[in-house]
């Protein structure tokens, strides 16, 4: 699956009728999401809307209670997270989770070898490429656990990219960063999209997504309450009530 050859806008990854319940607690209800090739799909919603759970279900970290996940035309609902990563679903966490005892380089090597299935030599080249992209080359031999927040965020993205995903699931990359730091990561993500990668992007900062996303979706209390062009979604009354209203108050 060559990401660069697929600008046709067809669906790459989708969740169909996904429910997620923990006992009586309904976290997601009847959620349909599709991420198309070469687009950034922005996902917004108030705290507790189920955004991260949706990412967990798409990436395979959690199984849905009902519904299915389709990737590249194949049902992957029952595939493990590691199998989905090898198929081409990459993911970054809101709070970066580097392998702290390993070096920065080893973190990306593991992604390149296990995720992209590269041999040692090519995994090394791939790692150097992604580390250079995120300006981490000079820290390649430092233990990942010693990095500061911005570098951890960079490494989180670099490691996800090392596994050569065709779709990238991003969870709040701007959280905790200054505007200048955020801009730097955003510029890199814009490059990835331009390279043909499909991106599903959760972010609290709505104006960041309205600027970057081709389409936007708003999740509230586990349901999709609006979907479409970013300007339309942010001016939707239901969205303003559920999300912007409460955030502005």
């Amino acid at each position: 699956m060559e990401p660069s050859s697929s600008h046709d806008g067809s669906t790459l990854l989708s969740a169909v009728g996904v429910d997620k319940r923990f006992g009586a607690l309904v976290v997601l209800h009847g959620v349909n999401v599709e991420v198309r090739r070469g687009e950034i799909l922005g996902v917004v919603g108030p705290n507790g809307a189920g955004k991260s759970t949706l990412l967990d279900i798409l990436s395979g970290a959690q199984a849905p209670s009902e519904g299915s996940v389709i990737f590249g035309g194949r049902e992957v609902t029952r595939s493990s997270a590691s199998a989905r990563c090898r198929m081409g679903i990459g993911r970054s966490h809101q709070i970066p989770r580097p392998f702290g005892d390993m070096t920065v380089l080893e973190n990306t090597l593991v992604g390149a070898m296990a995720g992209a299935g590269l041999d040692r030599r090519n995994a090394g080249d791939r790692s150097i490429e992604v580390l250079a992209r995120f300006d981490l080359l000079d820290k390649a031999n430092r233990p990942a656990g010693s990095l500061g927040l911005l570098d951890r965020k960079r490494l989180e993205l670099a490691r996800a990219l090392a596994s050569d995903p065709s779709v990238l699931l991003l969870d709040e990359i701007a959280a905790g960063l200054t505007e200048a730091e955020t801009d730097e990561l955003v510029a890199t993500i814009a490059e990835l999209r331009a390279g043909g990668m499909a991106i599903l992007w959760i972010e609290h900062i709505v104006r960041l997504l309205t600027r970057m996303a081709g389409r936007m979706l708003c999740l509230a209390s586990g349901r999709v309450i609006a979907e479409g062009a970013p300007e339309a979604v942010v001016s939707d009354t239901a969205v303003i009530e559920a999300y912007l209203g409460s955030a502005a108050a």
Binding site: G60, F99, D101, M102, A114, P143, A162
Partner: protein
């Protein structure tokens, strides 16, 4: 001079303890499983070798070459079909499962082989020794075990730091969920880690059985030594198991020099002292963690 000799014997004995400890340390490090059947798996391997030796009329060393890959397969199957399931049920379950496994192995050995003590022949190596002066003698077999222990530990360390699977093992040990999200199949990694651990247990069990007598109930004592070695050396450090082994071995032989009946007890006391005053072990891996 007797004490110099005792210290040398203790250092060499530490190699055997380190061999027992490194597999235990690996399983705990990667899967957080404290394998209470570690010593019994080692004794099981010794029995397998004694059966092969008498059935095929081969030396213990040749039998060891057959048993090592078998032990790895046993470890792989054990993880895949028993321990993996227990890992899903919380932290207590693997402990109970390996405890149960220990009892099953001991009872099975008792049923098949009776409670009689056995020993494995170490061949001509078993009695050979080098004399240095009049007081110090270095038993060739114990020295060989020590060298093997160093080779196994360096090999494992090299594997963990350089090899593809080794790196994936460290990543899984660090955070299994995240490892899954970068494409690592934790189940496959776990099965390999247990395969390696059980093979090292088999190696240690064989050397132990060549050095002294063994019986179906010998496992738990070896398990306790292995635990002490891992704790003294520092959890999660492979070289730490060698240091832990040496500390335990030297304590036992030096105390044995004073009075042979104090030997084992002194080792346990040393363990308690380390636990009380340096609970992170001699080599602490905590500093590397953020």
């Amino acid at each position: 001079m007797e004490y110099v000799n005792a210290i040398i014997q203790g250092i060499l004995l530490g190699g055997l303890y380190a061999l027992f400890g490194c597999g235990l340390s690996l399983m705990f490090g990667v899967m957080r499983i404290a394998n209470l059947a570690h010593g019994d798996l080692a004794v099981l391997a010794a029995y397998m070798i004694s059966v092969l030796v008498s059935a095929l009329a081969i030396s213990s060393y040749v039998a060891l070459l057959i048993v090592l890959p078998l032990a790895a397969v046993v470890g792989w199957l054990l993880q895949r079909f028993i321990l993996d399931r227990s890992l899903k049920s919380g932290e207590l379950a693997p402990l109970l499962v390996t405890f149960g496994l220990a009892i099953v192995i001991q009872s099975m050995l008792l049923e098949i082989f009776s409670a009689n003590t056995k020993s494995l022949s170490a061949g001509s190596l078993g009695t050979a020794s080098w004399k240095i002066g009049t007081q110090i003698s270095i038993p060739v077999f114990t020295l060989m075990v020590f060298v093997v222990a160093i080779l196994v530990i360096s090999g494992l360390q090299l594997f963990l730091s350089r090899a593809r699977t080794g790196r994936a093992m460290r990543a899984t040990a660090d955070d299994a969920d995240t490892a899954g999200l970068v494409g690592i199949d934790a189940r496959a990694i776990y099965a390999k880690a247990t395969a390696i651990a059980v093979a090292t247990a088999a190696l240690a069990g064989t050397f132990f059985a060549m050095r002294s007598t063994f019986e179906p109930s010998s496992g738990p004592t070896q398990l306790i030594f292995a635990f002490e070695v891992v704790v003294i050396g520092g959890l999660g450090s492979l070289w730490g198991t060698l240091i832990g082994g040496i500390v335990l071995g030297v304590t036992q032989t030096v105390a044995g020099q004073i009075d042979p009946s104090y030997s084992i007890l002194a080792g346990h006391f040393m363990f308690l002292l380390i636990l009380a005053f340096r609970p992170q072990g001699i080599i602490s891996t905590q500093a590397a963690r953020a």
